[in-house]
């Protein structure tokens, strides 16, 4: 990235001094707890040890044996994966459509969409959760009322969270709604980088709109698309707040995803070591995503 790295070789120490504070901060606040978590998952820490400060007894692989042989754990893993897949697909599809739409509208409509996207993006997650709870309120929620206008639908006093499928539909709506602006804005930024001549040339050569998109437009935004998709997958896999808040801090077992499960084991049941083991497994699963992400980042070049 810099002009001529060769000229800078005389002071090899300076860059290390510059990154030292960041590195140390990350090491202390993240590296240490991470190591601590690994240790914790091989122990058996309960409330007693947490408050007395005693060394918890070692448990070896016991925590992992327990969770990995528990059918419920695998249900939660599968549920988390499915939830992530649905949320990411919806977010990226809608984000791409909105970004493409913004290219075709008049400037003032584009400005309106951009303003709305920014406002949605800026909504704190607990605000979004509160608002969606209100929209889907059983007695006075406007969604129930609106849907009941449709012929043959009666949702008066319908509680969306009784059935986990419907509950997850609402949670998916919050997650996708909150994540859409990031996807749409990034993709729109990428779309504006495409020289118009490219698409025009394809059109003149007789390509239909779908072909122009497939062979010219999408390949040009693909790097950004893949990066955003991976980030979305990583974030959605760790979803915690939306579920926690929409279920009022007491999610039912049907609403557990890995993040929620780990937190509950730790803080509601006080099985800190089980919680740590679940968190560790989550991070290992995420590393799969991390590899894709990093490879992508490096393939985009320049990071060396």
């Amino acid at each position: 990235m810099s002009g001529d790295p060769g000229a800078r070789r005389r002071r090899p120490l300076l860059p290390y001094l510059l990154i030292a504070p960041s590195f140390l901060a990350l090491l202390a606040v993240l590296g240490y707890p991470l190591a601590d978590m690994v240790t914790l998952s091989f122990q058996d820490m309960t409330r007693k040890e947490l408050f007395s400060g005693e060394q918890p007894p070692w448990a070896g692989l016991e925590q992992f044996r327990t969770i990995l042989s528990d059918g419920f754990f695998w249900t939660v893993v599968a549920r988390t994966a499915a939830f992530t897949a649905v949320c990411v697909t919806l977010t990226m599809a809608c984000g791409l459509l909105v970004a493409l739409l913004m290219r075709g509208t008049s400037p003032w409509v584009r400005a309106v969409i951009a303003a709305v996207l920014v406002a949605v993006w800026a909504m704190p997650v607990m605000v979004a959760a509160a608002v969606f709870r209100w929209l889907f309120d059983a007695d006075y929620g406007v969604v129930n009322w609106l849907l009941s206008r449709l012929p043959g639908v009666d949702l008066a006093r319908h509680n969306w969270f009784t059935d986990p499928w419907q509950g997850f539909a609402v949670i998916t709506a919050v997650v996708v709604w909150g994540a859409l602006p990031f996807a749409a804005v990034s993709l729109h930024a990428a779309l504006t980088q495409i020289p118009p001549e490219l698409e025009e040339a394809a059109r003149i050569d007789g390509a239909r709109p779908a072909q122009v998109f497939r062979y010219v437009t999408f390949p040009a935004v693909k790097p950004v698309f893949v990066t955003v998709t991976t980030l979305m997958a990583i974030w959605d896999f760790g979803v915690f707040n939306q579920i926690w808040l929409m279920r009022g801090g007491q999610p039912e077992r049907e609403y557990y995803l890995l993040g929620v499960y780990s937190f509950i084991e730790s803080f509601a049941v006080n099985r800190y070591s089980t919680g740590a083991a679940i968190a560790l497994v989550t991070i290992v699963l995420l590393l799969g995503g991390a590899v894709v992400y990093l490879r992508q980042m490096f393939r985009l070049g320049e990071v060396e």
Binding site: S2, G3, R8, P12, L14, L18, I19, P21, S22, A25, L26, V29, L30, P33, L34, D36, L101, M102, G104, T105, S106, V112, V116, V118, A119, W121, A122, M123, P124, M126, V127, A130, V131, F132, W134, L135, D137, D139, Y140, A189, Q193, V224, T227, F237, G238, F240, G248, G249, F263, S266, A279, L280, G289, A290, Y293, L294, F298, L300, V303, E304
Partner: protein, 276 residues
């Protein structure tokens, strides 16, 4: 080749529809916040404001800890921004301007860190702060927040610095500035928009965070608006007027900041995503 006019108008209509659907939850929140309780619970719901009132806001702001929590949110937000900009700019400068052994490894660390779900680390982080005597302290929270603001700050700022031609700095150094002088006089002024965008982003992340404050701060007065808002929900039951007023108050600063700098953030994202 401009698209025919009718197609343009249809797309405009579609665009407005999309904006309306996406914006509706925000509209509904603000509308509810300004409504008297009797209107909120009216069926069928009304979609336009009739006799708006500030009663919900007065009630929300009158809750015991509102001002203390708002202050706490501001302190944590500004503190996090200050530290992560200071520390982040140094690292960003190193990444953008130097090739050094271990650069790649550092970049990997920066990128990977963003993937670790912090909710998973709550217990060890709590234990760490406990050892350091920093539980229930705003300083402790600021330090922990660095973990998720710093990587992003470094990443975004290095994109902005890389976009500043290195020749400008070299010219300043030829003219007798030291490296630090060149940085302060040339890079820093040009980095202004990048710093603003990055600080807003860090601020927003700190403002939005919920789980860590929930666990790390036990004194009600020290907690942030995110906790305040959620505690609202249980103690007031279904007082949606108060809750929506609280939600509007919590979201307002973020929306204002964001609207002010969103172009810069989009530019930073594009640079970060494309240029790495």
């Amino acid at each position: 080749m401009r698209p025919p006019k009718r197609r343009g108008r249809r797309l405009d209509a579609l665009g407005l529809l999309v904006a309306a659907v996406l914006g509706f939850p925000v509209y509904w929140m603000v509308l509810t916040a300004f409504r008297p309780a009797t209107d909120i619970l009216s069926l069928p719901p009304e979609f336009w404001p009739s006799d708006p009132t500030l009663a919900n806001f007065t009630r929300a702001m009158g809750t015991e800890t509102f001002w203390a929590n708002a202050r706490s949110s501001a302190v944590i937000g500004l503190g996090t921004v200050a530290v992560s900009l200071l520390v982040g700019t140094l690292a960003a400068f190193a990444l953008a301007r130097f090739r050094f052994a271990g650069r790649k490894a550092f970049v990997v660390v920066i990128l990977t860190v963003q993937m670790i779900p912090l909710a998973a680390l709550v217990i060890p982080v709590y234990l760490l702060l406990n050892d350091a005597g920093l539980t229930d302290s705003l300083v402790g929270v600021i330090i922990v927040y660095l973990v998720f603001t710093l990587p992003f700050a470094v990443w975004m700022l290095q994109g902005f610095i890389a976009a500043i031609p290195v020749e400008l700095e070299e010219a300043a150094m030829v003219d007798g500035c030291g490296r630090l002088g060149a940085f302060v006089r040339v890079v820093l002024p040009l980095l202004g928009p990048g710093l603003v965008a990055t600080s807003v982003f860090a601020m927003v992340q700190a403002w939005n965070e919920y789980v860590l404050v929930y666990v790390l701060l036990s004194t009600p007065e020290k907690q942030t608006l995110s906790i305040w808002l959620v505690s609202f929900q249980t103690s007031f039951g279904t007082d949606y007027g108060g809750l929506m007023a609280g939600a509007t108050l919590t979201a307002l600063p973020v929306v204002v900041f964001f609207l002010a700098v969103h172009r810069k953030i989009a530019a930073g994202l594009a640079v970060g995503a494309v240029k790495g």
